[in-house]
Assembly symmetry: D2
Homo-oligomer: 496 residues x 4
Amino acid sequence: MKVVGHFINGETCIPEGRLQDVFNPSTGQAEKQVLLASEFTVKDAITVAQSAFSAWRNTPVNKRAQVMFRFKALLEEHADTIIELIGQEHGKIAHDAAGELQRGIENVEYACGAPQLLKGEHSKNVGPGIDAWSEFQPLGVVAGITPFNFPAMVPLWMFPLAIACGNTFILKPSERAPSCAIYLASLLKQAGLPDGVFNVVNGDKVAVDTLLCDERINAVSFVGSTPVAEYIYATANQNGKRCQALGGAKNHAIVMPDADVDNAVNQLLGAAFGSSGERCMALSVVVAVGDKIADQLVDKLQTAMLDLKVGAFDNPENDFGPLISKAHQNKVEGHITHAGQQGAAIVVDGRGTSVADHEQGFYVGATLIDRVTPDMDSYKEEIFGPVLQVLRVESMQAAMALINAHEYGNGTCIFTRDGEAARYFSDHIEVGMVGINVPLPVPVAYHSFGGWKRSLFGDLHAYGPDGVRFYTKRKTITQRWPSSGVREGVSFSFPS
Amino acid sequence: MKVVGHFINGETCIPEGRLQDVFNPSTGQAEKQVLLASEFTVKDAITVAQSAFSAWRNTPVNKRAQVMFRFKALLEEHADTIIELIGQEHGKIAHDAAGELQRGIENVEYACGAPQLLKGEHSKNVGPGIDAWSEFQPLGVVAGITPFNFPAMVPLWMFPLAIACGNTFILKPSERAPSCAIYLASLLKQAGLPDGVFNVVNGDKVAVDTLLCDERINAVSFVGSTPVAEYIYATANQNGKRCQALGGAKNHAIVMPDADVDNAVNQLLGAAFGSSGERCMALSVVVAVGDKIADQLVDKLQTAMLDLKVGAFDNPENDFGPLISKAHQNKVEGHITHAGQQGAAIVVDGRGTSVADHEQGFYVGATLIDRVTPDMDSYKEEIFGPVLQVLRVESMQAAMALINAHEYGNGTCIFTRDGEAARYFSDHIEVGMVGINVPLPVPVAYHSFGGWKRSLFGDLHAYGPDGVRFYTKRKTITQRWPSSGVREGVSFSFPS
Amino acid sequence: MKVVGHFINGETCIPEGRLQDVFNPSTGQAEKQVLLASEFTVKDAITVAQSAFSAWRNTPVNKRAQVMFRFKALLEEHADTIIELIGQEHGKIAHDAAGELQRGIENVEYACGAPQLLKGEHSKNVGPGIDAWSEFQPLGVVAGITPFNFPAMVPLWMFPLAIACGNTFILKPSERAPSCAIYLASLLKQAGLPDGVFNVVNGDKVAVDTLLCDERINAVSFVGSTPVAEYIYATANQNGKRCQALGGAKNHAIVMPDADVDNAVNQLLGAAFGSSGERCMALSVVVAVGDKIADQLVDKLQTAMLDLKVGAFDNPENDFGPLISKAHQNKVEGHITHAGQQGAAIVVDGRGTSVADHEQGFYVGATLIDRVTPDMDSYKEEIFGPVLQVLRVESMQAAMALINAHEYGNGTCIFTRDGEAARYFSDHIEVGMVGINVPLPVPVAYHSFGGWKRSLFGDLHAYGPDGVRFYTKRKTITQRWPSSGVREGVSFSFPS
Amino acid sequence: MKVVGHFINGETCIPEGRLQDVFNPSTGQAEKQVLLASEFTVKDAITVAQSAFSAWRNTPVNKRAQVMFRFKALLEEHADTIIELIGQEHGKIAHDAAGELQRGIENVEYACGAPQLLKGEHSKNVGPGIDAWSEFQPLGVVAGITPFNFPAMVPLWMFPLAIACGNTFILKPSERAPSCAIYLASLLKQAGLPDGVFNVVNGDKVAVDTLLCDERINAVSFVGSTPVAEYIYATANQNGKRCQALGGAKNHAIVMPDADVDNAVNQLLGAAFGSSGERCMALSVVVAVGDKIADQLVDKLQTAMLDLKVGAFDNPENDFGPLISKAHQNKVEGHITHAGQQGAAIVVDGRGTSVADHEQGFYVGATLIDRVTPDMDSYKEEIFGPVLQVLRVESMQAAMALINAHEYGNGTCIFTRDGEAARYFSDHIEVGMVGINVPLPVPVAYHSFGGWKRSLFGDLHAYGPDGVRFYTKRKTITQRWPSSGVREGVSFSFPS
């Protein structure tokens, strides 16, 4: 069976070591194995990255950006390979993987602008003959620890910008979807990146903890579940590292009585069920304001869901694919079952879905649950599956109160035509990313991504302007030149 | 004896509670007492600040800035009172306290620019008909914990900007110099700040820990010693707060062979002995490159130091005053003693200094120690006293290696006339604030203050642009309007 | 009779020269005279400003800002005097003059932020060992030529920012309202501005042309009518000066069928009749979409206008005051007459208004004209009086086409509740300042003011960020230090 | 003979019309002809560009940037073709043309960052419930008129950024080097730019005047000689267009007594003679401070110049090539002759240079003239040939006075090791682009290019941040939503 190894110092390497199965969720079969890095291997990668830092840091920023220009072109050229690798290990359909890759490439494009983004501020005459300016210098070796659900996009949120800022990088991707990162590394080398600047180590908690404890790692970016994010953030901080750790979510959409219902239904289908709901920005809760709109919504959603197709990643006619693992499939089905037991109405039931010729695949069908209440477990926890739950309230204030009371604050959305409602909502909702008639308000690459409350640990959001600040440290220089220099000297020396 | 209490909800309050002596270091006498807040009192202040938040946040930013304009005027009007309070409790001479206040006022001026500073970024057409923008919203209740050595300036680094950004604030000043903060609070009220937006609680670790653990506090800014900074940072993070914690320093100046020696000597005197060296930016180590320049420097410093006057805060002819406490006086003298024991040459010895009529004051005279080496305790630790140590090296590289090897990275300086040396130094030195012929490179208020390595815990520096980012959270809004709105509706409704 | 002179080099001066009457429009009487500067006097002022430039330019930016902080405080302290001077010479009621002054003061506040606003951009390592940065340096002597209708605000748009940027300034106010500028100059001196940095010359075309032709003037800011703006812009450019010249306007509001009509009526009254319509941002045309909303609007406006009071500036119960001159009164009444002759319906007629005890004042009452068409003279030209005209169209597209076809493009507004209509309007309308339910969309001082098409000649808008760019010139410095400097020299010199 | 036509609406077109010879300056032979556009053709191009505007403006900025990413890749791929076209018509050697192209490509890279560069500023709560933001909207059809000396780079300063900002563009290149622009147009089409967005018209004053007078052209960027720049600027302004017109130069280098002379000599050779001195940033005057350094400089320059090779563009061993035309060759030789007649010392004389096998080519050899004085014609005028003149002064102040007195203020440089001298120079010199030990201080693409005094007419510099501002107009939107919208409506409708 193929073994997925590491990428260190410009080379793929597959040392002896622990192995773990990598499944194809569409078939339910283990088709590859991934090497789980030892502490020794991770430290070796850090040493390599450390060695590469000085030369890379001193490479003019415009030259560093050239690598990103070429990397973008290579990503576009080899998109099919990347999409296939994502599909095999994650299960998402090609059109969905293509979308993921596209969002990732936009972060590479942003990193191409490093010469503009790294400008400091210069002040003349802060005092008599004194100037001051700021420089944003790279941190050194930084690490990224990324989840299974976006094998290309989330790593691309991190390393292109970090590297363009002059850092060297170690990526630890999810061991459930390890191949994409190795392939990205090979493209980056092809794009002209010097060896050692970007390294990938596959692994599990051993690798993570080595990264978190080694003092040569200066910063850690993480995306995953909230409990792990909290652990990563605390451990990185204890070890003197800068850290941003993005965790879970429970994204609500409010549908107002004046909303364009057909548009809302259309948007919600993709936002709730796309990628089987395995997105931290998945829209998993609808809060309908008033029973009238709630009834319309449930009715139209139910009808529309009849047409949704779940199946293997390699059939482009499917709308979404399997979940990541058997265990996760069981967990999602359990949430549906509990919701029913706790009194919710299961309008469309995706449990027990079987896909022809792929009976072992980890499938759950699109599920719609109505009359959910805030005390139900299925409401409190992140399900991370193709399950859309509907709550009914009688006012916009009640809808907002629900959202503000939830532990997560990643994304949210309102469907309305009314400017005042939209403005009030976006001003007062305690959520970091807000959509107005946009159900997946993932900020574009030149803004920054980040939730509030227990969805993000850290001061700075991911990518975009905050990403630049995260991957650099501020140095402020104040300069005065003593007055009796060569200038006056000369006029003394050469009297007429 | 006068008791210094708290300032909560717009009122001075002096509840029953534990008391601690406040000394006048110039006389060595306890002249006041300070109340040490109980957990109950701190929580009360938090409740008050929490209640004031909603209205203050919704006050237009321009109105919030008006309070800062008036506050600046009041600080200037009442400068003498503030300077007197600083002198009584800290011991610094009036001209030094005036300088401190001036730097503090400049932070109020910066906060006056809040309308400009809080602008988000707006992008039109990030997709067809889709716009996106960012808003920087206040955090809620935030806290500042400040040291004895700048009773006015360090609080002014924090609360004016935090408040102008829309937060409400709780300040816990040093219990050794508690009066200034209370007076600032009264001026802020006079400037029109609504009650509850700014509160002062005096206290000790009880107050600190209450602030660090109460979940309603959203962020903590701290300035003090490194061990405490580390504790504050870890505890705040564990409790889900944003934190920036500024710690200790050991600031080196390199003197190059081409430096203007007289200018360097002149600058070093103030930077080393000003405020008795009780500044985190005090320049306490000189690294002379080559024995020739070292001999000149030591000789000229020794001569110049003869003229330095140490004495009570209220005599403007003094150059600097006492240390903060008897214990600290003993500690500083101990460092001098050890340096001598470990082989350094004590060129000018400030131990045993006695000031006429103030024999109980905590005085140490200006001290110059030559031939210090990196293994000596006096080199490794922050002395925080009027002690300047000289190291001798044979190259600029060796000088820079010394600095880069030290655990602290707050400030540093090079004295040279040479553009290339200055540029190489500022680029490669691992220190956050760099001076070129500027011995105290404290960034002006419109840049940001922060050291590297163990001098600062957190991603963002204090005040200036980083201060704005620290005291706000980013919200990104993505907006699309459904197309079949009133616009087309109208054209359908009124055909010609 | 009192003679209003000049303010040059820190002194009021009243040399011999031509005099012109200054009227009190509320009484219709000439109560003062203004001196009209000769070419000699203007050139003298330029010489003075030129001499003051070098020292002012070299004053650290933070010190320059201090003058603005004090100036703001003085403007607030002496607001009543300024309001009285505005009322006497312009005729606007105290509450209106107070509003004008407030907007002006906000520009002073913005200028207080000069240290932040003047930051250049610094790039490290644009090539190996090469840095580059930009500085925004002052231009030298710059001039402002300002209109009668905002004797305080429009000058305050210009000189505080120009001066804070390091320029010296010559203001030529309207000869119809000359006193305010002189008073502002005296306050600025009191605020600590060095003599010669700010100068006022009163005068007519002789003064204007001297300013436009003297090569020592580097830039000219103008606000007035379009024909004069065009002349100023062309002449300044021919003489090698930077110029921004703001001209006339014809500001339309679209009222959509879904608008809150009562709110719209309320807003329109102030926007149309405030300051007798003598504002370049006055809202003088309503475009109602559909007859239904048009009928409601006209009806409600007519009713509401019964309560409007026109009268002398010194009665605070009046809503608005007289026009600036007898000639202008006649012109405005002529426009009303022509509109009637050309077929429009004069719903409320302000012609022939007489104010008790002030029968000679230049009054025109609030006027409402319905069923105006684009071919009428009253529609094509700027009336600059208390005349609100209503056009009726059948679609939003038709309303926008009207606005886009007009020669002016200063301000505009839409009244709607619908997010989509507002977004489409603001995106596609060919107007520089757009209001959504805001009838007078004058940008706040930290944004910039400027119309499109024939409402502004020049690249950069007035005040705010564009104002900073206008009053400074960009210098870009690229720096490399030869490598064999003192740094390596030292290591060669001191081998171990 | 090959005829170079136009590129309009995505197609090369060669209508009937006036023709003019295009010379190969290396051989002195006319090898092609260029079509000179009629007024009709230019107006046709404008119509095409006007038609393409609406769709292009509404294309999301990220999509517009994609064209620039692909364009950059194509420019790199086809660099040899471009370099050959430049060499044939301009005469510069391949390594020089490659450098030109590289600087041009960097402007395309900057344009790739359009999503970042076009962000407006967003302010929440400028008043109660009122928000305001700015948008930078494209102007419409804009034009570029470019010189012969940079057939690729100067057009690339203009159109990539203009187009990325959403404008459509008409380029009128020099009729002496017309082929490169047509080729760039074909690559841009290949990169996916919609037809009509970028158009090239070749021509002479007829074409220029048509562009300047047609009201559909909104802005004109020009680079050329000062008299033409002045004409272009005045005419464009008269016709209501935004304009930036870059003119001539006389760039001085000051060599200080402490300079590294060998480094200075090395830098000066390239800066003075590269591209035969036909660069607006050519360094054509050396001001030596003190005779000692002057003698060294002249001596070392003379020696070094022996190795310089002048010859045809297609021999890569040549250092520089011919001048653009016979007439210009005569003019340059005339300047040398006059300098000798007026008393200067011609140290190295390039007159009468003949290149084997290319005797008809327009060659002038590298020329060094010492003891030039400010009254000589060769000093006052821009020579635009391979002629380096030396002036001798006795102080840095005298050297700076010379530069500040010259009518041009494009670029300048100082050679020194001294930080103070460099800082004083860069602060006080009246020149827009300043080099410190950098003889050709052309700002990198992410800063902006522009001279002062009669070297640039207009407010905004070329490319970089000023370029973005030049190619966009500011729109400021102020928004308030009436309060009684759907939000409260809902809560009324559904009481519990």
